[in-house]
Amino acid sequence: MSGTRDIVITQTILDAKNINAWFGSVHAIRDISLPVEKNTVTAMIGPSGCGKSTFLRCLNRLHEEVAGARVEGQVLLSGEDIYGPGTDPVAIRRKIGMVFQKPNPFPSMSIFNNVAVGLRLAGMGNKALLAETVEKSLKQAALWNEVKDKLKAPGTSLSGGQQQRLCVARALAVNPPVLLMDEPTSALDPISTAKIEELLIELKKEVTVVIVTHNMQQAARISDRTAFFLLGELIEYDDTSRLFTNPRDKRTEDYITGRFG
């Protein structure tokens, strides 16, 4: 118990317990435990290669899709271990959505289909319901007004910022209780970034967001809790306002004041 401050989590929705992860023989994540509060934005910060993205990908079992990658530990989603025996990662990923660093709408798929594809493959055949959900998701992602007249246009025809919001809508369409975001604005201009950030504040009423970001100001602006990672370890996890004004660990202090990393 060196750096982490004890914080109260009243309603844990996602609870990572003693997560260890490897790439081949490289031990990338070292025994990290991190409970995530429901309906909050939790930010993960740290220098490049500190394992924050890897840890994020452990939370929806995406890490194991990389060749040679391995995970140990538990992640409880509303009390159920997503790494439990017989658990289907595909089903898990429907409950834990993800938005990536680069906007990545599916190529040669219309805006509508980009949002609808997850639902269709999950078995939603009702066309009216499908259209309704697509509209709702696009509205949630604050994109509806910009695309409602061109739903048949390819998703890739949108601007970068719009594409990223399309990806948010796509993830939201299957109605996941948790949304993971891996540096979702690092490829966007400041205005698009501001839109995504605004969106997150709105979204957390319905979804719990875990976001990896390189931008500390962003973490400070939008998150309720912040976790600082270094060399595969969780150094400090605290209320964002406290972590950024008065970090407990020297390493956190050095990082957020730009003394290294």
Binding site: V8, D15, I32, S33, I235, G258
Partner: protein, 233 residues
């Protein structure tokens, strides 16, 4: 590693220190002119105050620039916030020194009421507090700053003593009221100076440790136990 912000912070510290020096001089000059009964020296206090006021604006601007451009966090952020507050305190202290000189001028227009014993001691104590608070600031020494908080008690005690004494004078002889009031006001000015020095010391403690010790908040309530997962790190 030298960061861009380090140089700016260094400059800021030097400015605050210089400003504190002028505040000290202003207090000293005001009380000394009173003790030595040389009213023309009160002019000097005004000169110091003008310098302090100019510095006040410059430090504010520098802080604003720093906040806007460097987006300081953690210790840096606390330090800038502390500087902004210390800056205000120092400016007020300049005003108080001027107030002493006004009250002193009026006092010197008539014959002295009594030999001044406690007021010089009070002035001395306050100056020590200012110097110690700013030293603590530059050295990031929270123990030294905490010491300043203790000293304020003796300043308050001196003020209390002066008040009692002068009230006794006024009770016995109503013709002394005007002169006694002038001295009471000066004691009051010095007491306020001590309070400002205390504020500075509190800001230093906040900047260094992140703890808010104002208004008796010595023990800010920390949250209690986390429910799950032993926090390994």
């Amino acid at each position: 590693m030298e960061r861009a912000i380090d140089l700016e912070i260094q400059k800021l510290k030097e400015r605050i220190l210089l400003m504190g020096g002028y505040v000290e001089k202003a207090i000293e000059e005001a009380t000394q002119a009173l003790i030595d009964r040389e009213p023309e020296r009160f002019e000097k206090v005004h000169e110091y105050e003008t310098i302090i006021n100019r510095s006040h604006i410059e430090v504010d601007e520098a802080c604003l620039r720093l906040l806007a451009r460097q987006s300081p966090l953690a210790a840096d952020l606390r330090l800038i916030v502390a500087v902004i507050k210390i800056n205000t305190d120092l400016e007020r202290m300049g005003d108080q020194a001027v107030n002493i000189s006004h009250n002193g001028k009026r006092y010197l227009e008539r014959p002295p009421l009594k030999p001044l014993i406690d007021l010089p001691r009070m002035s001395q104590e306050v100056r020590v507090m200012v110097r110690a608070a700013l030293d603590a600031f530059v050295k990031r020494d929270s123990v030294m700053a905490a010491d300043v908080l203790q000293r304020d008690d003796s300043v308050d005690a001196l003020k209390h003593h002066i008040f009692q004494e002068l009230i006794a004078y006024m009770g016995k002889d109503p013709t002394t009221i005007e002169q006694a009031l002038n001295l009471i006001l000066i004691a009051r000015n010095l007491e306020r100076l001590g309070d400002h020095a205390t504020n500075i010391a509190e800001d230093v403690i906040f900047a260094v440790t992140g703890k808010d010790v104002r208004h008796g908040a010595h023990n800010p309530s920390r949250r209690v136990a986390k429910p799950s997962g032993k926090a390994k790190t």
